[in-house]
Symmetry: C2
Subunit: 237 residues, 2 copies
DNA sequence: GCACAATAGTCGTACAGTACGACTAATAGC
DNA sequence: GCTATTAGTCGTACTGTACGACTATTGTGC
């Protein structure tokens, strides 16, 4: 009695919500759906992604890294899994399940288009509800979940470190936090918290402007990729 | 130019890490793999789960709820998605992806076996590294991730509320927190934090023992299914 | 050189939240 | 009553942060 493997299997995709700061605003990378016949949601904006390639993708994360490199050229971003969405109706072509990843990248050197002449990919401010509300598939939900994750984690982790280019000044890092949070934070409180948490380390260098030069920092090598700020319920030392 | 849908698709499953408190210990529900020919990991313990049924499961979460009801009889547990794991090698039968859910249930009335005479399912203390280290597939990793999620969230959410039967006393709830955290917490601090957070509400009833009766509480109807304790970076009111 | 603008970085205080042990409160059993 | 037992509170110390005001260091214009 050999148990049969299911003949019908879900269409399986990986989608990525890639965030970066452009012109002082938190932006997400969107790509335009192809307009071919039988293509769902032709011409609509969507999160970059696509079918898992069982021949070439060793794992879901491999697949996400590959797609991210194809779209942005970035090889080593901050990447974490957001979750998975799967049901019978989210794709008109059939029962489909997508594995969604969240990526943060820094720097303006990212190419937003893959090759064609027409712009196929572009950055959109996350506050642009006009575009976000008309995304293909259920990508509006995926994007909302990704934003919620970022906005929750900015409160108690070092996540925005991955949105600024190294080396960075503490003021630049503070600006990244403020952009994600959508409100200003106090300078002294911010600096103490960041430095006490040990998530950045000084390079010893300084960057001068038209005023007092600022000390340059990088992500602490010793720290985890994501550092957490102190939690409660901790016993007294 | 109609784009072809991928002919090869991953084996797609849903697995659930179901936790409950038994005899004062945090336990996870495991099931025994069938011993048929060509069955992977025959006779080994594994997280309950199985293939997504495209005909009957409307969504991944539906699938998780169904499997959980089959195993435990519980219809309305606390259920959240943990993540997904997928690669070419985790299942010897082929490229497979599993969507993992985390469930918390309360009460001892849960039937740990589905029907047969041999015990097919049982509760295991999560501290039992002997069993956890020999689970089928990559379920050791999934279980570790589920435990990490629970142990992180216990610090700043009302999650253990779903591990105690309603109505409960604050002492019982505190015990659930302590079991998950693995260490005692101060009574006065615990009560103030829980009550200020508004995650429980009094029933007005009391339960007497051989000592002073304790006030009975339930999960606050107004509160979210999961309440969060105060975070930092909050501006002064 | 010197005032001045501009940005970096620090100081001191107030306050929220909590960790902690010791206290009071209410019940059952004797 | 007295005692054991568990429920619940009080007061204090302490940690971490929010906040505005302060000092520090540079470039620029005169």
């Amino acid at each position: 009695m050999t148990p049969p493997l299911p003949a019908k299997r879900p269409l399986t995709t990986v989608d990525i919500a890639i965030f970066s700061i452009r012109d002082g605003r938190l932006c997400v990378l969107l790509v335009k759906r192809p307009s071919g016949k039988d293509e769902p949601y032709p011409g609509r904006w969507a999160l970059p992604g696509g079918f898992v390639d069982l021949e070439n993708d060793k794992s879901l994360e491999d697949c996400a890294v590959r797609k991210l490199r194809e779209k942005t050229g970035v090889a080593s971003p901050y990447l974490e899994q957001l979750g998975s969405w799967g049901d019978a109706k989210r794709d008109p072509r059939g029962w489909s399940a997508t594995h969604v990843y969240l990526a943060l990248i820094a720097g303006p050197e990212v190419k937003p288009e893959a090759g064609g002449n027409a712009p196929e990919a572009d950055w959109f401010p996350v506050a642009d509800s006009g575009v976000a509300g008309r995304l293909a598939f259920d990508h509006k939900d995926l994007l909302a979940a990704a934003l919620a994750r970022i906005r929750a984690k900015v409160e108690y982790t070092s996540l925005p470190v991955h949105l600024v280019d190294e080396p960075f000044t503490l003021t630049e890092l503070q600006r990244a936090y403020e952009i994600v949070m959508g409100r200003p934070v106090n300078k002294a409180a911010f600096r103490k918290r960041i430095l006490d948490a040990g998530i950045v380390e000084s390079t010893g260098e300084f960057r001068g402007g038209q005023a007092r030069p600022a000390e340059l920092f990088r992500h602490a090598r010793a720290a985890e990729r994501l550092a957490y700020f102190p939690r409660t319920f901790s016993p007294r030392p």
